[in-house]
Symmetry: C2
Subunit: 493 residues, 2 copies
């Protein structure tokens, strides 16, 4: 339970390449992103300020995108009556085995058990049904940022697997299939933008195979991100639900001719798993690496002095810090006494500050700055003048470097296979995605899954899938029946 | 459960003055701020987008104030083990009778019951204890925005009394009493600023009497707001906890000489009750009234046309709307067909839009705008040119009117009394606050409470209380013993 306090404890001791799981846990703990929950609450984490700031960055980015495209936030209760969850069972299997149940309020047993929300369809949809009367009420778009609880008995992995997690769930209703599909893809594109433009993570977009869709959904679209350990993370999903929820919960509207019609609905969400994927993608054996877009501190200024140069160095560093701060840069001056520069370098590297500026007597004499990029240690000397522009350029460069590295991993990580053995061999040897022609049957996925625990994480959208139009001679890599679609096999988180 | 759909249903039917409770419920429902929870969940509400937008405005305003003064957000689990709540009992009574208990995860009974957080001291403080080792870790300031559950069996009143409510809880640790007291007052001042500068509500600041402090607190400071029905609302509280929590949870730090010291802690919070107070303060028999600072729509443009003027009126209204939007005004053009202007006026009045701009053929011909203030219906004709500045001026005027009205109610609402009978008579007749000299004993409050259900909601801070220095001949209005302080008696929410 104790926190690192000595110089030695500060360093990361595990290897990202060889002990990925242990390395990840060490980065999360030592960069002070999260702590494990107390005894009796395994599976829960405490999200510390440095970790929560990442969630705030993701939330703010998406919230702005959502609001500028017609979404409004709401808040539904943390509890859902058991009968409401039951009602949903006609269309979906339900989360019963994973629900935390409230049975007592104060000293009294409740008449009906209340579920701590595992997701909110079953309470949001009935209210949408009340709120929608006429075509004038459509589209209706409601979103909530909240925590949900799923009582899964798996090993805790902060942000990736926790019994409680923070997420956002959007629920919308539309007049037509076209409108609802447009909404589904609009939200998927916004998630993609957050991954690519905020988190420096290139991703794949596609849909889930028929047998792996969200229960009750007509189409489940997905964002998939490749982790450096060769596994895929489902980064977010956006579902076109057709009229199945509207039928179950009676979401109808009167059109211009007073005819009653079923609405078409969607739902879409992203969880703090995105934080896990972010950490996993960019960080290294020195600790956390963050893109400047989300880093709580974008720049750390480290003054390097001897007793005879201390005053001038500190003054120069302070002026620089003040100037950058004024220009809106999130900058920290580390002028702590009793810590040598090497210690400070290590600590800020561990914490993932994207850019370090070193100020020593030379910099002061020559009116310069030494800038060091966190991801690769590249060091550049630049003029002190126009420091704000220089710093912004270097932050952009750091972002570009992170993106380029991740892009290379993704591009190298997509391989092709034409036979069952090739699929197994390629994933076994390299991890990553294996593209293969597929007949569309779950049984062919099962064969691969049973052998190597890889599944079909994604199928390209019809219009981007050469095999979707049937005008070809390709056969399923597993069973040799006619191929209907291209499947991306991968191990996944 | 059904929502208003016809013109008649849109209007408020209850009187604010004579049926305050019913009127409040009607405004909340018809302005679409909140709906009641489903069957089996009495005491819970659904916060609809128009209601949640008010919470977002309050949250954003405070969050910025907090962050600019050293606070960082975190997230602690929604559950707290029963043993953690027990541990706190040494210092505080605890929330046991009001706790919702989780007893099952999936199909299994839990070994230890988990409380749905009624407040988070008991889980946050132990982690603060871990995170604090040295004076360099101080001050430590952690805040979380979250929901809490308290199983009170009282009648539901949206935002005022609900079993689940949204709030913010800040927890800080400091080296000294002075630092912690400064923190306590800094937060109280920030709450005051939110009430006065965002919500147009003048408030009183003071402290709770000894017997009504937060359990374990050294000093509980409070913001009190007077409602038009003469009752006081506790708008937010900020506690200086002394070293009592630090003792119970072992929050110690090593100072420069490696000596171990107890930290001084504070906590402070505001809940969505602020939304309730906002609605109650400004709204009227036509419905919701909101200050422009928080209104989801600040301006509604209503075009008024006949068939021969429709094109020119609409074009003029559209151009105006676009121009205001570009200038950052939250503006809505109500160009619905099939609704007459009177219907639209009523609907936007009900929804609390602060400023209406009417555009008819006359406005088009004369290059003018007709602006109508929501609070008092005052109508002004202004030039079309520089519409953005004109609109901003009128929004400021509306804010000033709301503030002035509330200020008058507060100023008129503070009366003085020197005897028990005067206290009872004045509160009975006028409501509001009654200032009276007080000996400091709870018994004298009890006498008043038993008679008229009023209590001491506030005592002015020592330095602002003439009676605090003992240099006077005043005696307690109730028991005639020497008066120690000035007490503000009031009925409260
Ligand atoms: Zn096959
Ligand atoms: Zn007395």
């Amino acid at each position: 339970m104790s926190e690192p306090t000595t110089e030695q404890e500060l360093g990361i001791t595990k290897s990202k390449e060889h002990e990925t799981g242990e390395w990840y846990a060490e980065v999360v703990r030592k960069a002070k992103l999260a702590s494990y929950g107390p005894e009796g609450m395994s599976g829960f984490i405490i999200t510390r300020p440095r970790g929560y700031a990442l969630w705030e960055a993701i939330r703010d980015d998406l919230d702005e995108q959502f609001k500028s495209t017609g979404v409004r936030n709401a808040y539904f209760p943390v509890f859902i009556p058991e009968s409401y969850l039951q009602r949903e069972k006609d269309i979906i299997e339900g989360f019963d085995p994973e629900v935390a149940w409230v049975t007592h309020g104060g000293h009294d047993e409740l008449e009906e058990r209340l579920a701590v929300r595992p997701t909110s369809e079953s309470i949001i949809t009935p209210y949408m049904s009340q709120w929608i009367r006429s075509h004038r009420d459509l589209p209706l778009r409601v979103n909530q940022w909240c925590g949900v609880v799923r009582w899964e008995a798996t090993e805790t992995k902060p942000f990736f697997r926790t019994k409680e997690f923070l997420w956002q769930e959007g629920h919308t209703a539309h007049r037509s299939r076209e409108d609802a599909l447009e909404e589904t893809f609009r939200r998927l594109d916004q998630y993609e933008s957050t991954y690519e433009d905020l988190l420096a993570m290139p991703v794949l977009k596609g849909e889930k195979p028929e047998h792996d869709k969200f229960p009750g959904a007509h189409t489940t679209t997905t964002i998939e991100a490749l982790m450096p350990d060769g596994k895929s993370v489902q980064g977010s999903t956006s579902h076109y639900l057709g009229t199945s929820f509207a039928e179950a919960f009676d979401i109808t509207y009167a059109d211009e001719d007073e005819e009653q019609n079923l609405a078409h609905t969607t739902s879409w969400g992203i969880s703090w798993r995105a934080i896990g994927a972010l950490i996993m993608t960019h960080s290294d054996d020195q600790g956390l690496v963050l893109p400047p877009t989300v880093a709580p501190e974008q720049v750390v200024v480290v003054p390097i002095w001897q007793s005879d140069t201390k005053d001038e160095v500190l003054e120069y560093a302070e002026e620089l810090t003040a100037e950058l701060e004024e220009d809106g840069v999130r900058v920290k001056l580390d002028d702590r006494e009793g810590r040598n520069p090497g210690f400070k370098f290590n600590e800020w590297e561990l914490k993932g500050v994207p850019l370090r500026i070193e100020i020593g007597p030379n910099e002061v004499d020559d009116d310069e700055l030494t800038l060091v990029h966190r991801p690769d240690g590249e060091s550049t000397v630049e003029d002190r003048e126009n420091a704000d522009e220089t710093v912004q350029d270097h932050l952009d460069e750091v972002y570009a470097k992170l993106y380029a590295t991740a892009e290379e991993i993704l591009e190298d990580g997509v391989r092709e296979a034409d036979t069952r053995d090739e699929i197994l061999g390629t994933i076994g040897q390299h991890g990553g995605y294996v593209k293969a022609p597929w007949c569309g049957e779950e049984a062919c996925e099962t064969e691969v899954k049973d052998q190597i625990a890889a599944e079909i994480v994604m199928v390209p959208f019809e219009e981007e899938d050469d095999l979707a139009d049937g005008d070809h001679d390709e056969t399923c890599a597993v069973c040799d029946d006619d191929a209907e679609r291209t499947a991306y096999f991968a191990k996944s988180y």
